[in-house]
Subunit: 223 residues, 2 copies
């Protein structure tokens, strides 16, 4: 019984920190996304592809990337001269609000329109943690199979956008796009879904428009 | 500081249950594997492929499959007339020893040579939990990328066998097999690695031999 109480305290502390982060990000008009996927679904590839475009279009942004032990993802992003902060979680399976709070101390929020958080590769735990973001983004990929939304519904419920990556592998798989999209809509009717291929640079315009539109909406709302 | 102590207590209880499970499985000569992978890497497909062969060859076995909410995996195995027990973990990201202990009450261990545990799709947390198994099996797949062993080393350290699945997609990917195999060996020099394709039924003979050999070794050791 004692454990339950402790857990609640941890979750409460976590919620408080998420709210602090949200307030700081709101105050500075920074639209913040928390990208969640399985290992290897393409979170870093997505940032590698859209990062340079956003930069070219003058959108000031920073990336916070989470990984248990390595700095591989941050290195891939750093090489593109995109500002990036690596969070190593050790054996922990998700980024929490405290880690984001610490990371935010190292960036100048007044000069940013967008914060992209790349969570640890894991569809279960990261979905349960509020970091203070505007929305989570659920990223799936074709080779994982079309039943992943059904099996991991929480992340869909928490997201305004679902991306289905590696569409280039569709012809080599029995992935049913309609079934996958319908299961996503059934779990969260308000969600938008985009089919993309980071490898072939397909469908990413839609993602970039979505990001820019949301930056605009956040700024207008805060006016 | 109090949290640490509680955590230790939970881990201790978990360890005790794992040891109880291990003793029961040892007493009954049941070789037990705990298969861990990312979502959609092919745990259920592996069981679908090798299950019928093991059955045909007269190896008595049971499958325990873990998933957060659905019974999809158990249904896929049940249709092949393979005894299967579904564990639903809710929002929990791994199977623990207590859940296995409960599941073991529903099977006749005296009539089994092999127990296959299919863990929740997650490379982080399941690696940290001892269920009382003889060994974990790390299952990776080509589309996830060749850097997954480097990024998730704990599961490699805990496994005697690593499987690299979806080799049929190798030609459509930049996956470097040598790099992946070398990283696995660097983390755990004693581990065996097998390249497989559940889709094309390739390399699975090697897995079946490995299982049968280990069943034999366990029986001889207990004599």
């Amino acid at each position: 019984m004692a454990f339950k109480v402790i857990e609640k305290n941890i979750l409460k502390a976590s919620e408080d920190t998420a709210n602090e982060n949200r307030e700081v990000l709101r105050h500075n008009n920074v639209f913040t996304v928390n990208i969640i996927s399985s290992p290897g679904a393409g979170k870093t590839s997505l940032i590698e592809r859209v990062g340079p475009v956003l930069k070219e279009e003058g959108v000031p942004f920073t990336v916070i990337t989470g990984d248990c032990f390595t700095t591989r993802d941050a290195e891939r992003i750093d090489v593109l001269k995109i500002p990036v902060i690596q969070i190593n979680t050790g054996n922990a399976c998700h980024i929490n609000g405290q880690l984001i709070k610490a990371a935010l101390k190292d960036v100048d929020l007044t000069k940013m329109d967008l914060l992209i958080i790349e969570n640890v590769g894991n569809l279960v735990c990261p979905a349960q943690f509020d970091l203070g973001e505007d929305t989570k983004i659920a990223l799936f990929s074709v080779p994982e199979g079309d039943d992943k939304p059904v099996k991991y519904p929480l992340i869909i419920k928490q997201s305004r956008l679902a991306l289905i990556n590696k569409m280039d592998l569709l012809e080599h798989s029995d992935f049913d796009v309609s079934f996958c999209e319908e299961s996503i809509k059934k779990i969260n009717p308000g969600i938008e879904t985009l089919l993309i291929s980071c490898k072939k640079d397909e469908g990413l315009d839609g993602f970039i428009s979505w990001v820019k539109e949301n930056i605009k909406i956040k700024k207008e709302r805060n006016r």
